[in-house]
Amino acid sequence: MFEVILPQLEVNSERALLVTWMVEKGERIKKGQVLAHWETAKSVHELAAPHAGYFFPRVEEGDEADFLSVIAVISETDAEPAPPKAPEAKPNREAAGNFTKKAAALAAQNGLSAADFDKTGIITERDVQSRLRQSALPDLPKTSSLDNLKLPDGLTRVLVITGGIGAMHLIAILRKDPRLDLVGCLDDDPALQDHRLFGVPVLGPLSLLETFWREGRFDQAIIGATAVVATRQKLWDRCKALGIPMANAIDPSAVLGAGVVLGEGNIIGAQVHIGMATRLGDNNFIAAKCNIDHHNQWGSHILTGPGVMSSSFVSVADRVRFGTGIFIEPLVTIGAGAVISSGALLLGPVPADHLVKVRVSTETVHLKKEG
């Protein structure tokens, strides 16, 4: 069987119109015999048979065909050859889920497929977030905040690691809890040795940590360093290598909603509000007056200044550093290691290891006194 291809009859067109076949279907034809008249924009062309045999058309008179497409077949026998197979359907994007790249990643992370979305067009990250928000509502964590404070019965001996301003902050919170016995602080700064922070003594350098733990001189520890994420994480790793349980320090004026889940080693400052069903990892420092609203997911080793206002469904990955007075819109995601400058208003995602800069235009002018 020989396929007859419509040649490129002229350069100015892409297809031609079949005016008429000059032979009948099933007719025995000779090589070189005129098969058809094809019309292009410029003229009508005769098409000669490239081969002898029995003729079977694949295009009807009055139809157009693309140049270089198959328009007829010439067979060795007068039996009509089987029609060509329909081209295999291309994989349907719609069926596979028409996700944007970001939406596909977020959906995969949360085990969602296109079937979970009631949408015909492209599914965006916003659609996935909206779907996640819906599914989050009926699925409140069943534990209460108090179950997760991990405070053992009786008096707990707590060692404060570092003895600077952050430790003072921490001690100011911890001393309000009558169930705690503050053993003391460890700090490498020679100037701090023998000092007392609100009555809690600095006992010596950090190298004593391992000894004190081995000797059973404290039950839990907590890290006072609150300025540098890396320092706080390094001290955390050192404690965890020793298997030391870490205390949470939560100011009594803080309000924790239903179903809040805290890890350990967190410092929660005065008048912080943590909304219902929010999860917070380990070793975070949340300064006074922060609002972490409902259904937030915060990681570990996060430091904030005062007054960071996160709205609902905000995700904050590990090691994020916030300045002061920051507002975060619902559903915003902040990648690990990001730094957010004071006064930022976050409307969209912040990628990992990025700095959010804030342009501030503040001018201080002299006040001219009247008279």
Binding site: V11, N12, E14, L17, A41, G62, D63, E64, N98, T100, K101, K102, A103, T120, G121, I122, T124, E125, R126
Partner: protein, 341 residues
């Protein structure tokens, strides 16, 4: 319906057939219009058979085509001129500038000159430097001339009926060569993943969005043959970078009426204008100037323009693709817009 009857060229042909059938004042004047040839792009095929007294094939003189049409229009006819390629329109420039458009203006609109000039523009067919250009920018500055560009979302018959029968001043209609071979989308409310809405009557602006006309960050404005490139750019920007845009396909190039466009742009504050002709003193220049005025204080970045980057179009299809604005150049310009915010 035969496959070729679904194409835009057939819809234009059918619209012209109906309009000629309705009104005996309508004439067709141009080169090689008579059957069986029916015009270089077959837009007028069959008209000379159906209306033999009213389809006039002419010698090769565009000045004569428009000049004769102007005279006929002054005498009460409603002639339609076909300029075989838009590239030849320069030969009729004086007739348009100093004659056809002047009569209504000089006689305070008491004298009408209802001629319609239709012509195909645009490249991507490998027709070379003098058969591939988009020269409409040289005509949009002529006072008294309305310049419109057909697009696939435009209801075809209303568009031609308005120019030919309902206006008393000269009209220039830009058709796109590639579009002749595409199917019209004149009634669709969805096109692929895009939602389509239309603004205006007879001459329609189409607005398309992948995100329910919400949350868009960029507005892409174009006309005629650049439409598909803008839509593909919008699609890729959303899929790859989650940048949502609305695409505005304008039907009227001149006189500029951008109120609805400005309102759509105000939603995003970032505007890109794409045209196929060369950019300097282009369609986008005037649109950008007027939009900057209308959107002052609402723009987040300077309006970007993409256009043909070469002074002359190459014959080679591959080289042509490199200099004509493409999906890639539009995406790059959007990235510039986003980074300058």
């Amino acid at each position: 319906m035969k496959p070729q009857e679904r194409l835009l060229v057939h819809h234009i042909n059918r619209a012209l057939t109906r309009i000629m059938g309705e009104d005996e004042r309508v004439l067709m004047i141009g080169e090689d219009l008579l059957d069986p040839y029916g015009g270089a792009f077959k837009v007028t095929k069959g008209l000379s058979t159906q209306f033999p007294q009213r389809v006039h094939t002419t010698p090769i003189s565009e000045a004569a085509i428009v000049g004769v049409a102007t005279g006929a229009a002054l005498r009460g006819m409603r002639p339609v001129c076909e300029i075989m390629f838009g590239d030849f329109l320069g030969l009729a420039f004086d007739q348009i500038l100093n004659h056809a458009t002047k009569y209504p203006l000089m006689y305070a609109q008491e004298v009408g000159c209802p001629i319609t000039i239709r012509t195909p523009m645009g490249g991507r067919r490998g027709y070379g430097p003098t058969h591939s250009q988009s020269l409409e920018k040289f005509f949009v500055g002529i006072p008294g001339l309305e310049v419109t560009a057909l697009h696939r979302f435009q209801p075809v018959e209303a568009f031609y009926r308005r120019a030919i029968l309902q206006r008393d001043q000269p009209s220039l209609i830009i058709e796109n060569k590639i579009m002749y071979g595409q199917e019209p989308l004149d009634t669709v409310a969805r096109y692929g993943d895009f939602q389509v809405r239309r603004h205006g009557q007879d001459v329609v602006d189409a607005e398309l969005s992948l995100t329910d006309f919400a949350h868009e960050e960029v507005t892409l404005i174009t006309y005629g043959g650049m439409t598909d490139h803008c839509l593909e750019a919008a699609r890729r920007l959303l899929l790859d970078e989650e940048i949502a845009s609305n695409v505005l396909v304008l039907g009227r190039l001149s006189p500029v009426q951008l109120e609805a466009t400005a309102a759509a742009c105000a939603r995003t504050g970032r505007v890109l204008i794409a045209e196929e002709g060369t950019g300097a003193w282009g369609i986008g220049s005037e649109w950008a100037a007027q939009l900057t005025d209308a959107l002052w204080g609402k723009l987040k970045a300077p309006i970007q323009r993409v256009a043909c980057t070469a002074p002359v179009l190459p014959n080679s299809r591959a080289l042509e693709e490199q200099v004509l604005p493409s999906t890639d150049t539009i995406i790059q310009a959007v990235q510039t817009l986003m980074s300058r915010t």
